[in-house]
Symmetry: none
DNA sequence: AAGAATCTTAAAATTTCCTTAAAAGAACCG
DNA sequence: CGGTTCTTTTAAGGAAATTTTAAGATTCTT
């Protein structure tokens, strides 16, 4: 899952980046409003963390622009002010939630997870067939046995399962899981799909990760 | 919380009853050993205060009977004697704690609270596999031997064990144990994990603290 | 059967972690 | 205070695991 952080204070943004990467998110940083808008226009993020007080275009303006341009992408804004009117203002501008500085990392994480929940009200456990992944403990169970996955394996699997049934193109996978913004000629994906299949499939020979020749992969139940 | 007081001196027992009722305990009085046993058999108390020198059956005998009949109910005995042998005798008879007369009401209250704490669900002993930590005394036992831990070692271990099974990311650890909420580029965690492993692991080579590359650590039983 | 896409494997490159030693900081004690 | 000891933090080289690259094998499509 890919997150954009718009925040000028290096200390905070790096702290957030590291923390979120430990939770297997792919993270981009934008130090000001312009850069934030630019990145959000070009890339397809799953969520935006937006500081209210940033150089250049204000946070609230960035929020409006993003909402206007396209998407229903979840936006959480970070604010030092916490008067009722500020918060109302922010939510009216299109934000989905807010958090007051200073905040505990875990509280932020909880709010992020709430926003990323699918409409079906799913929680911190993703399931597909015999595979079950706990986003909180980073544990993955397949065929009743626990399987150790690396970071990249974990986020690739998460992406596939969140989009179960849908074809995940190579381009989208590279963007969401590897956080690369440019066209790249690499075969990492193949290799990682192979890793996952080896670790997760039963011995039946048929993988739950299906190859769609010419475009990408789909995770499907039997 | 319901308390039984076995005590013959009216002055003392009423003083205790009033004081404890002000602290919102429910209190019953027994003026002698027989009455004490009778009441404790009929009713379900959360704690017993037991005077050593009472008419009829002695305090120590009451203690033994209660222990024999049923429960692990906490018993605190009140004694005027305070020779080592008396105390040892009392504790061996099954008492959980003792207090010397004369005592400050506050002190008694504190001891009562200590005894009730575990019952109220606030554990003061954390366990994981062969490791056991007493939060009150700050003692840690591993593989049946007591191990001396420093403050930081202790709180790191506490955090890991409280979250057993879950991945504790570096960010979370730094927040909870070191109380830092900003970007920090440090390797203290590695060092302290190393300290704990050295002090707590048996010689088997496998630590109960597992590292999750790219995220953090988990404490897990075998 | 030829070409393209994907799979598989092995090894290189990189990142992260472990371990150790020493410096810096606190607490203790005369 | 001044020295001593214990704790905490920093730093750095080496070890280990992950990630990426690369290249030959395999499968699929036409």
């Amino acid at each position: 899952m890919r997150i954009l952080i718009v925040e000028d204070e290096k200390g905070i943004s790096n702290f957030l980046k590291d923390g979120l990467e430990e939770e297997s998110f792919a993270v981009d940083l934008a130090p000001d409003g312009n850069k934030g808008l630019e990145l959000s226009a070009v890339n397809d993020y799953d969520l935006v963390l937006l500081d209210w007080m940033i150089p250049g275009i204000s946070g609230i303006e960035v929020c409006r622009q993003i909402r206007k341009s396209n998407s229903s992408i979840p936006i959480i804004f970070l604010t030092a002010k916490d008067t009722v009117s500020d918060i109302v203002f922010g939510l009216e501008a299109g934000a989905n939630d807010y958090i007051k500085k200073p905040f505990k990392f875990e509280e932020l994480l909880a709010r992020i997870r709430v926003q990323l929940r699918t409409k079906e009200g799913e929680q911190n456990i993703l399931k597909l067939g015999k595979v079950e992944m706990n986003l909180e403990t980073h544990q993955v169970i397949s065929n009743l046995k626990e399987v150790a996955l690396t970071q990249k394996e974990f986020s690739l699997l998460e992406y596939l399962i969140r989009n179960k049934g849908k074809v995940c193109t190579r381009t989208r996978i590279i963007e969401h899981v590897w956080d690369m913004h440019f066209d790249s000629d690499t075969s990492v994906i193949d290799v990682y799909i192979n890793f996952l299949r080896k670790k997760l499939d039963d011995g039946s020979g048929r993988s739950f990760i299906h190859t769609i020749r010419g475009s990408g992969y789909v995770a499907r139940e039997e």
